[in-house]
Amino acid sequence: MIGGLFIYNHKGEVLISRVYRDDIGSRQAADSAVSSSSGPFPGERLGGSMRRNAVDAFRVNVIHARQQVRSPVTNIARTSFFHVKRSNIWLAAVTKQNVNAAMVFEFLYKMCDVMAAYFGKISEENIKNNFVLIYELLDEILDFGYPQNSETGALKTFITQQGIKSQTKEEQSQITSQVTGQIGWRREGIKYRRNELFLDVLESVNLLMSPQGQVLSAHVSGRVVMKSYLSGMPECKFGMNDKIVIEKQGKGTADETSKSGKQSIAIDDCTFHQCVRLSKFDSERSISFIPPDGEFELMRYRTTKDIILPFRVIPLVREVGRTKLEVKVVIKSNFKPSLLAQKIEVRIPTPLNTSGVQVICMKGKAKYKASENAIVWKIKRMAGMKESQISAEIELLPTNDKKKWARPPISMNFEVPFAPSGLKVRYLKVFEPKLNYSDHDVIKWVRYIGRSGIYETRC
């Protein structure tokens, strides 16, 4: 259970604080604060002396701490603080109990998701502008420190951002039917004029490569995000080129299996939104579900085999004497020539004692950023099967520091319009037995986006 939830900005100012249980913040400290009744700050003494204690403890010990964050779980005065950071906002959950750490972090992530669904990016300004809404949300999501309903769709009924008009009879009855209904994540009686659904396959490809071009580790973690605008209680069935399914179907000729085997992928592990019937997945490996309304994450998966690495980075570093470094980096795009990669950024680290850099690149723009100790090379677009090169001369100040430069890896960012794991959506069928629309009437959109996660090449 969670004793309290606090949101801070980067300076450590409290933006939101909600205390659910009295036990957080040491009691003795609170008592002593009350007994020193002539204190200069009546707010400290009265209001929430206990709460302010906990609030301040976290600010002093974590946000304002000098050294790096040692752990996302901090124990201060026998109280555990779990924090996550979103841009420069800190969210902290506080508890005194021996709780389940994974669950608390999941709850904080969920909280971020819910807030993002309501007002977009989690930033100081957005939080300040929406603080009434956030208090409303916190009230519904947690009660007495226990997580309650946290599905954005279902929450919509309870959150009255523009609650000036008192509710109509119809809406009232909806609450009752929603909360007594069998399906917690979808309310009944949803109607759309146009039945539409969007499927996004979002992958992030991670790579760690040795200087010799040997893959040390590579994996893709992907998500299938669905946005559904469908009427009634539709039953959906989702199919993809999962190796196990394809092999099951393609039992026919050996030739066929080998052919389709190329296009099928082996999924290391996958997890689903709670709406997916897991029993059916286990027995038939088919993914069927009644989707929540609006946006949700249908599945999350991970693959490690046969990953298409969209870019290859070939570094060449030569030390010329003690005061000069020559760096040459070649990047090769490794996908269909008809596709375009975007937002490509290569970051080449430079030693701390760099005095000057000369860069020549064939494509895009490259700049030495002294504050970040790196040469940043940006290319807006690049087609597949192309190659581009940058060469730089780095002049170094002679130092008597004997510390050897550690040569951090060259990292890369990009976005490509395909799934590096090779995952393909084969179908998504919609059946709504009660209402009068069929699978063909639903407009479906599928999009693949592959982004770089941690994509590093050592040099």
Partner: protein
């Protein structure tokens, strides 16, 4: 400074809230209330406008209601008399036709933390439990827990508890889970909610309907259930199987824990479960959510304690990437250190060597310690890497390498030669206390093999005046005296100078005392010095004192998926111990801390200890010191004559125990280091008839008891009994003064 201007702000807001024009305009009115809440968040004392806020609660605007209720929950304890005014409105709202308003009012009313509110909330809660809207029932069920909390330790309302038990059959999943939570809090004194067979089966059937929070919670409650038969047990495991693959890592871990606990008598099932969660755990370890990744890594380490080879084939997953946060890197290094085997040792060491030159000194040092850990099994390769690192002549690296060497020489004496060769020259690159101590210790103990050892120590002696750390001086004294025994000619002169300095000029008492002690020892004669300094060196044949490699899964299964793996067992023990002390209240005298200078055993206890040996017919002979070899031989040849367990909680000082045992003439042969788990000690004693008592004390990790096994070379029951009673008293006394 928002705190200082609060009076003006309160005045202004009060005026605004009373202004009829503003009250008439809903939006403006709500805006003012929002400002009140905003100031409250910033820590201003807003209790001054309580009256006005109570008035604002009588509205149809739900947003405004919510805001006002939030305000009231914060300030009600300060203004209980005014808060009573609000109760009327709240009670009215509790019978509003809109279920949302009913729920909101009930929740707020239960959250008013003020005395005397119980009598008002009892009836609304009872009504709420039977409300037709599940939203209200959810609130009401938790309201019961809140009400009980307000009462403090008052008696449990039996009727209410029965009602809650029957609501476990409610059709709304959140109501069910809330019932469990609420019962757990109400029945805390009696050990929490009872999970019997019907309830357990009911919960198992509802599992798939619950959301992830509910599932995690129910899995936790099910830990309490003991299946009657093996058949039932496996039925339950089959039912829960799919949760091992849930999308929520929290549920996966909860399910894993339940499996481990339920199958505690079936080790093969446990191993099987751990194999099956390997995938989800690895996925969590490489997920983008860093905090979850951290938690997962902590649990991976826990699993590795029992199944060292479990993740070995996936070692590459635990290679650090440059941009990961510090805490993940440190965990990964620890994991790498534990999953090393013959096949991957080369690659892992290669990788770790890369980290040793990382820009972050902390991380580099962690990597070096990790190599030191691996060196216990793969000594040659690691010592070579460490020696190469010395060549970098980096201060922060050299100091850690030398510390690693010190520990290594102790555990793997075969590498002494290599270490001694690597040492010369590194004294130039060590500045900190820990590193100096390690180097000086090595020079003192193995000085005869390092040609220039006396000259390095001489440098330290020359600069002893400017040395800031007393610990280094103490180490220097001991080391120099040791070296003097093996190389007297080179050391005599500087030993004299050092002793002179320590006795005449040193200000630190501990250093001076040690100097005096050594001086007097030398006066007694060189043989005596040898006997004292060199004899009780713990010898490697007592390897059984080192912690065994593998721990059974059952030893940590109950800690799985709690904060214990995250904090580490030792840290958690101190946290929970303090919490226990806090609960006892501040009136308890704080005698528990052993001040270094204070008496180790309080006077009254000491008397008791000394009296007791006389009361029995037993007379233990003082100064009967056995050699470790002889002890081991005798120990192995005898059978256990007596075995028993004594309650034992938390941490303690082995030295204290040793002192206390000395008082009753029980000698300590060997003892594990403080804080290590399992902790062991071997004791010996002899009575006036020559009967030997050999004893083993064992503290298992996780158990709160000390296991005692006594062996005797002559079977005599009455002396055995009196020996055990002596031992019991001593341990009991230590336990007493400790808590």
């Amino acid at each position: 400074m928002p705190y200082l201007g609060s009076e003006d702000v309160v005045k202004e807001l009060k005026k605004a809230l009373c202004n009829p024009h503003i009250q008439a305009d809903r939006l403006r009115y709500r805006n003012v209330i929002q400002r009140v809440i905003r100031y409250m968040t910033q820590g201003l004392d807003m209790s001054g406008v309580f009256m006005e806020m109570v008035k604002a609660s009588a509205t149809v605007d739900i947003v405004q209601k919510k805001l006002v209720y939030l305000y009231m929950c914060t300030y009600a304890p300060l203004k209980p008399d005014l808060a009573l005014l609000a109760i009327n409105t709240l009670c009215k709202d509790c019978s509003d036709p809109n279920p949302m308003v009913r729920g909101l009012a009930l929740r707020s009313m239960c959250s008013l933390r003020m005395p005397g509110v119980q009598e008002y909330i009892q009836q609304p809660i009872l009504n709420g439990l039977r409300d037709k809207a599940s939203y209200v029932r959810r609130v009401a069920v938790l309201g019961c827990a809140k009400m009980h909390n307000l009462h403090g330790d008052s008696e449990v309302d039996g009727a209410l508890v029965n009602e809650l038990y029957s609501l476990l059959r409610d059709q709304d999943p959140i109501v069910v889970v809330n019932c469990l939570r609420s019962l757990e809090e109400i029945l805390k004194q009696e050990g929490g909610v009872v999970i019997n067979k019907p309830i357990a089966h009911h919960l198992l059937n509802r599992m798939s309907k619950l959301d992830q929070w509910g599932q995690a919670e129910v899995l936790n409650f099910l830990l309490r259930y003991q299946p009657r038969s093996e058949e039932e047990l496996f039925d339950i495991l089959n039912l829960l199987d799919s949760f091992l693959k849930s999308s929520s890592p929290g549920v996966v871990m909860g399910a894993t824990k339940l499996f481990l606990i339920l199958a505690k008598k079936f080790p093969h099932v446990q191993t099987d479960v751990l194999v099956r969660v390997k995938g989800p755990l690895l996925a969590a370890c490489s997920s983008e959510s860093r905090e979850l990744c951290f938690v997962a890594l902590c649990h991976v380490r826990q699993i590795l304690h029992s199944l060292p080879g479990h993740f070995s084939s996936h070692y590459k997953k635990f290679f650090c990437s440059y941009s990961e946060p510090h805490y993940i890197k440190l965990q990964k290094v620890e994991v790498l250190c534990e999953l090393v085997n013959d096949e991957n040792v080369q690659q892992v060491l290669e990788e770790l060597r890369g980290y040793c030159t990382d820009v972050s000194a902390d991380f580099a040092q962690a990597a070096i310690f990790a190599i030191g850990g691996i060196a216990r099994t793969y000594t040659d390769q690691c010592v070579q890497i460490l020696t190469e690192l010395l060549g970098l002549r980096q201060e922060h690296i050299t100091t850690v390498v030398v510390q690693t060497f010190r520990d290594l020489v102790w555990l793997c004496p075969q590498c002494t030669e290599a270490v001694c060769q690597a040492l010369p020259g590194c004294e130039e690159n060590i500045q900190d206390s820990e590193g100096k101590q390690a180097l000086i210790w090595l020079l003192g103990v193995h000085g005869e093999r390092i040609p220039n050892a006396p000259y390095v120590l001489e440098d330290f002696v020359e600069n002893v005046k400017s040395e800031t750390f007393p610990a280094v001086k103490m180490e220097l004294l001991t080391a120099l005296l040791r070296l003097f025994l093996s190389r007297p000619a080179e050391c005599q002169d500087m030993l004299g100078r050092l002793l002179y300095y320590c006795i005449e000029e040193e200000k630190d008492m501990a250093v001076r005392d040690r100097g005096l002690f050594y001086y007097r020892l030398l006066l007694v004669g060189i043989d005596e010095v040898k006997r004292i300094l060199c004899s009780p060196k713990s010898d490697p044949t007592l390897g059984l004192l080192e912690d065994p490699a593998e721990r059974p899964v059952n030893s940590w299964a109950s800690d799985f998926n709690t904060l214990v793996p995250v904090y580490g067992k030792a840290h958690w023990a101190t946290i929970s111990k303090c919490q226990g002390a806090e609960r006892c209240g501040p009136e308890l005298p704080k005698t528990s801390s052993f001040a270094a200078s204070g008496p180790l055993i309080p006077e009254e206890n000491k008397e008791r200890v000394q009296e007791l040996p006389d009361s029995g017919a037993l007379m233990l002979v003082p100064n009967r010191q056995l050699t470790a070899d002889y002890f081991e031989k005798t120990w192995l040849s005898l059978k256990v004559a007596h075995q028993q367990v004594l309650p034992w909680r938390g941490e303690f000082h082995p030295d204290t125990l040793q002192m206390a045992l000395q008082v009753v003439n029980i000698q300590t042969i060997a003892m594990s280091r403080a804080g290590s788990r399992p902790w062991k000690a071997y004791l010996s004693a002899q009575d006036d008839t020559g009967c030997l008592f050999l004893t083993e004390l064992l503290l298992e990790p996780g158990n709160s008891e000390m296991q005692i096994s006594v062996k005797q070379n002559e079977a005599r029951t009455e002396t055995l009994n009196s020996f055990i009673s002596v031992l019991e008293t001593v341990i009991g006394t230590i336990e007493e003064i400790k808590s």
